[in-house]
């Protein structure tokens, strides 16, 4: 007799535990307000990334097309996987002195691991992280970017 009672108890406890689980899913079924899906490409306009989001490395330019990069190459040394290459040239400044300046700051997005060492170690804060995250392209060569804009100059007062 005791075994039968135990058997029935087992069944009832089992069914009860199943019902508890069903209560959870049932509750969510009837509360569509809790849906968390984001309709991604449609909400592009309202989508705000976090301010520190590491989307890609960029070189901010001001409105006069000036950047802060002196071409020192510290970012290149710090990059663990060689995604940055700084090509510098010698220029003559207005007062006749020869000076090293940046020719091309090449950034290979396809190799970047977003470790933030370049941005953190830049002595003149020339690099920053951009919020852009839709990087998909059909040609891998398009992922090699030149960060300094054509014709851009070193910002005054940055050494």
């Amino acid at each position: 007799m005791k075994s039968i009672i135990n058997y029935l108890k087992e069944v009832i406890c089992g069914v009860w535990s199943l019902l508890k689980g069903m209560a959870v899913t049932g509750k969510y079924f009837f509360s569509p307000g809790q849906i968390v899906t984001q309709k991604y490409p449609n909400n592009r306009k309202s989508l705000v990334m976090m301010e520190r989001f590491k989307g890609e490395v960029i070189m901010p330019h001001n409105e006069k097309n000036e950047h802060k990069c002196t071409g020192c190459g510290i970012c290149e040394i710090n990059c663990p996987n060689g995604s940055i290459e700084v090509i510098s040239k010698m220029i003559t400044t207005d007062d006749g002195k020869k000076k090293k300046a940046i020719d091309k700051h090449i950034y290979r997005l396809g190799m970047c691991t977003f470790c933030a060492l370049c941005v953190k170690n830049c002595p003149s804060d020339a690099l920053a992280f951009g919020q852009e995250f839709e990087h998909a392209v059909f040609n891998r060569a398009l992922l090699i970017k030149v960060l300094n804009k054509p014709g851009s100059q070193l910002m005054k007062g940055v050494e």
């Binding site: 959870v24 968390v36 976090m50 977003f114």
Partner: protein, 374 residues
């Protein structure tokens, strides 16, 4: 070089051999298990690794200590922050740098958040392994809240790279404390649902209780650490035994069970989430003011010698062993990754159970394949 390929029992005639993986839904990545079956019963499991081997240890030999950090993210990507911390602690210990309290406490909070999100994903994928797909979405839904906190402070969601030798990359975001408190409040409400949906469920219990038992002796001998080891009663919590960062100033329990079966490996993780929330509770209001990083030399050279540091990741004990010859690059870096060692026990505990149990056992070991292969 001549190879000694030994013939194992796997190729005997009467056995039914199945390749589980490298592309299989329940191996969580590119793990390949060669099973020999007798009917549904698993007679032998032989893991074949290397599908995602990237040679991180070799790469570490040619880069600087700051640069190693971002590689450790890619080992166990679910405890990325804790992996970072292991290398940083080791380097700081070698250089004998005193770390301010603020950094220690922030690191501890971030580590525990990492642990929570890792266990959330474990819960999600374990439910999915057992066939309850809904768990997967609930787990990911709640994990998203932690990832948002990470994104706000570290800039990335999973592979955070937030530590650097001497401190942190940036200061915490002004919203950090508020967000963490919101999350704790939110998750305390959601955790009972996990229990209702899975822990108490009679089907789940039938599937897990008594399956894949690992005794204490075997757990120690096989070196199974983390929640999987603690479910067998192996007191292996590095946070308790060798407190690092701020673990010596918080009160928390080491979750220990003696059963050592699949259910208790699962349950240990559920309990650990609660403990982690308690730890964060104790620290979140007590972050002292101060710098977020100690000024370090731009080129770090460790003094000649050998350094070993253990930390407790979400899956077990991660050991970082650095041999330095005084240069800016290490001579040898070894990561004693918890998953790699835990995988060794799979054949021992999954033998003589059914395929469905193997999936459950494998799921309960919470394997992350990039951590096994490195």
């Amino acid at each position: 070089m001549e190879e000694e390929v030994k013939q194992t029992g796997i190729n005997e005639q009467e056995e039914y051999i199945i390749n589980m993986g490298p592309q299989h839904p329940s191996t969580h990545g590119v793990l390949r298990l060669v099973l020999s079956l007798k009917g549904e019963v698993v007679k032998n499991v032989e893991p074949h690794l290397g599908y995602i081997h990237r040679g991180i240890e070799k790469m570490c030999e040619s880069i600087t200590y700051q640069q190693i950090i971002h590689l450790t993210d890619r080992m166990d990507y679910l405890s990325a922050h804790i992996n970072n911390e292991a290398v940083c602690l080791n380097v700081e210990k070698a250089l004998e740098v005193e770390i301010p309290d603020r950094i220690k406490i922030i690191r501890t909070i971030m580590s525990e958040l990492t642990r929570i999100q890792s266990h959330q994903l474990f819960w999600a994928s374990f439910g999915m392994d057992l066939g309850g797909l809904t768990c997967f979405f609930y787990g990911l839904r709640d994990r998203e809240k932690v990832l948002d906190i990470f994104e706000e402070t570290c800039g990335s969601r999973m592979i955070v790279s937030y530590n650097c030798p001497g401190g942190l990359m940036y200061d915490i975001h002004p919203n950090f404390q508020k967000r963490v408190k919101e999350f704790l409040k939110y998750f305390r409400k959601k955790l009972p649902e996990y229990d209702q949906l899975l822990t108490g469920n009679v089907i789940f219990r039938e599937r897990t209780v008594g399956i894949g038992k690992l005794s204490l002796e075997d757990a120690i001998s096989y070196g199974v650490t983390g929640p999987s080891g603690r479910a067998s009663g192996f007191s292996c919590d590095v946070r308790k035994h060798e407190p690092y960062s701020a673990y010596d100033r918080v009160r928390f329990n080491e979750i220990l069970f003696t059963e050592g079966d699949t259910f208790h490996r699962y349950f240990a993780r559920i309990q650990e989430m609660k403990e982690s929330m308690n730890i964060i509770d104790q620290l979140i209001d007590n972050i002292p003011e101060g710098p977020y990083a100690v000024k370090m030399k731009p080129v770090i050279k460790l003094p000649e010698g050998e350094y070993f540091q253990r930390v407790e990741t979400a899956r077990g004990e991660l050991g970082v062993y650095i041999i330095s010859d005084g240069n800016k690059n290490p001579v040898r870096v070894k990561f004693r990754s918890p998953n790699f060692v835990n995988l060794g026990v799979l054949n021992h505990i999954a033998r003589d159970f059914k395929i469905a149990d193997l999936v459950a056992i494998g799921g309960s070991l919470d394997m992350i394949i990039p951590d096994i292969d490195r």
